[in-house]
């Protein structure tokens, strides 16, 4: 059976390759910074399960130091020129889209059709099929384009160095959430919310719950982390308990109020900061494009909860 561990090994091999090419890149003044960063990232995927928690902690700290103190250089791995690309686009035609669709197609087909087959670990189906899709797409690309043997690694390095340290952010922020939970941060926020907010009417309770979900999501970067805290603090005791709102409406719309916060926070790095890096935009450009949608949507959500929760 194929498990997530196999995909981690694949991931480790890819970034070990990226690290090696980084070390050989004489054009980059900081080449060993890049090499060490990607090598540590690879090590986490290859050996993370065999390291102790403390050793993993030290590994993360080392990654933070290399990435955070500007030890990464800008690179320009060998690739095709714009003119060559236009020529090749003409030559290969719309078949290029077919190759681009191999990964989603495999992920989709594997998730839907081979669900109970026992071929892959059923807990992480989509991620595993994504990995298998990558291998198939690479095989097709090698056969059709016949690129230099190391081209996939050079191209991966080109994109990885474009994203840079931001690539670490999503995983790091998820880990920060776990540390917050262990330190009792959520509990404390719940206590403060109920103590200092005016919650005397149904509308006030609904507004406080929804805005609280959005704000706490902005801080934590994740509505899933905010939901248990705010729902236990305001949603269940007040909206449902005291004012007899419908529990399903409260919960469903509460989570969506949290998503409005996700649109507005750099803490949700995989949605807001990584794409800015991928598209070579200023760090907060994506957030700026989303905030004017997030605010009215939060208002709509409050009104929906107010008008629906006490009616059904």
């Amino acid at each position: 059976m194929i498990t997530l561990n196999h995909i981690y090994i694949l991931m480790g091999a890819l970034f070990a390759g990226v690290a090696m090419l980084s070390a050989l890149d004489r054009a980059n003044r900081k080449r060993f910074g890049n090499a060490i960063f990607w090598a540590l990232f690879a090590l986490s995927f290859l050996a993370g399960s065999h390291l102790s928690d403390f050793e993993n902690g030290v590994l993360v700290l080392a990654l933070v130091i290399v990435g955070g103190f500007n030890f990464l250089g800008r690179t320009a791995p060998a690739t095709t020129t714009p003119d060559q690309r236009r020529e090749r686009a003409q030559h290969y035609g719309n078949g290029l889209f077919a190759v681009a669709l191999v990964i989603p197609f495999v992920a989709l087909a594997g998730t839907l059709l081979l669900k109970g087959s026992g071929l892959v670990d059923s807990n992480q189906v989509t991620l595993i099929w994504l990995g298998i899709g990558v291998i198939i797409a690479l095989a097709v690309s090698y056969a059709w384009f016949q690129p230099p043997a190391l081209a996939p690694f050079q191209e991966a390095r080109r994109l990885s160095d474009t994203i840079g340290w931001a690539m670490l952010l999503p995983q790091l922020l998820a880990s920060l959430g776990a540390v917050f939970a262990a330190g009792g941060v959520g509990r404390e926020v719940g206590v403060i919310a109920t103590h200092y907010l005016p919650l005397g009417t149904p509308f006030a309770a609904v507004a406080a719950y929804c805005i609280g979900m959005a704000l706490f999501t902005i801080i934590m970067g994740n509505a899933f982390a905010a939901f248990p805290v705010m729902t236990a603090a305001i949603g269940l005791p007040l909206v449902v308990g005291q004012f007899h709102g419908d529990v399903t409406v409260m919960a469903a719309l509460g989570m969506l109020a949290g998503y409005c916060g996700t649109l507005a926070t750099p803490m949700a790095a995989n949605f807001n900061i990584v794409p800015a890096a991928l598209l070579e935009l200023p760090d907060y450009a994506v957030i700026r494009a989303q905030i004017p949608t997030a605010i009215p949507l939060l208002v709509v959500n409050i009104l929906l909860m107010y008008f629906l929760a006490f009616r059904f």
Binding site: L14, P152, A156, V179
Partner: protein, 233 residues
């Protein structure tokens, strides 16, 4: 109150624009200290969580494929395809993608179809730029606007589509949390109550796409467009 020290570190760190990796590490150490953990314990909790969350980074596995396709002209092909479609304006293109992403997420396939590395960078953003360029060359500011909106439709489509799906992790999280509090709800009813917000999201962001397109068209461009500004670090 002191348990919130880590949050204060995060807020201040992001406000004064210190490198986020350092801000997070500082917040971890502050939270551990406030909770009375020793350094070894704090690092162990952090390291354990980092290792458990490795799946979050799996999406970057697509980079060699996307890079290879860019090498062979994928972005250029996406541009010329859109340039040849007469009705394809930037607003319509992004709206259609957002609705498609919502629909796909609503049947539980947000993880399989879409995403910033897989679709937005190699396909959607170049297409959106090409559609916008039909009205003349883009200034760096306009190009950035088009790119940022391309990323936004991927997010909004996924966020406000996926809760409509019964087996989505967020729906299951809601169900599980309420169950711990001795309340049994049906996933189906959670999904149903998510539909009004999904519609509102499509209307609000759709209207903003329409306005964005109008603004791009009405603001005059200088005769020659420059390349997008390189992102500072």
């Amino acid at each position: 109150m002191i348990a919130l020290l880590g949050i204060a570190v995060v807020v201040v760190g992001f406000l004064v624009r210190i490198n986020p990796l350092l801000v997070i590490a500082a917040a971890v150490l502050a939270t551990g200290w406030a909770a009375g953990f020793d350094l070894v314990h704090t690092l162990s909790v952090f390291g354990h969580a980092f290792n458990e969350n490795r799946y979050v980074s799996i999406v970057f596995l697509v980079l060699p494929v996307i890079g290879l396709l860019e090498r062979e002209g994928l972005q250029e092909r996406a541009r010329s395809l859109i340039a040849s479609l007469r009705g394809a304006t930037v607003g319509r293109l992004l709206l259609i993608y957002m609705l498609f992403r919502q629909a796909v997420s609503a049947i539980g396939l947000a993880g399989a179809v879409g995403g910033h590395a897989q679709v937005v960078r190699p396909l959607l953003a170049p297409m959106a730029e090409a559609a916008a360029e039909k009205d003349g060359p883009l200034t760096p500011e306009k190009r950035n606007t088009v790119r940022a909106f391309s990323a936004s439709v991927d997010n909004i489509g996924a966020f406000f589509g996926e809760d409509v799906f019964l087996a989505m992790s967020s729906v299951l999280l809601i169900k599980g949390f309420l169950e711990q509090n001795h309340i049994i709800v049906q996933p189906l009813s959670i999904s149903l109550w998510s539909i009004p917000t999904a519609i509102a999201a499509a209307l609000i962001h759709g209207a903003r796409l329409w306005r964005m397109e109008r603004k791009l068209r009405n603001q005059p461009s200088p005769p020659s467009g420059g390349e997008a500004r390189v992102r500072g670090r």
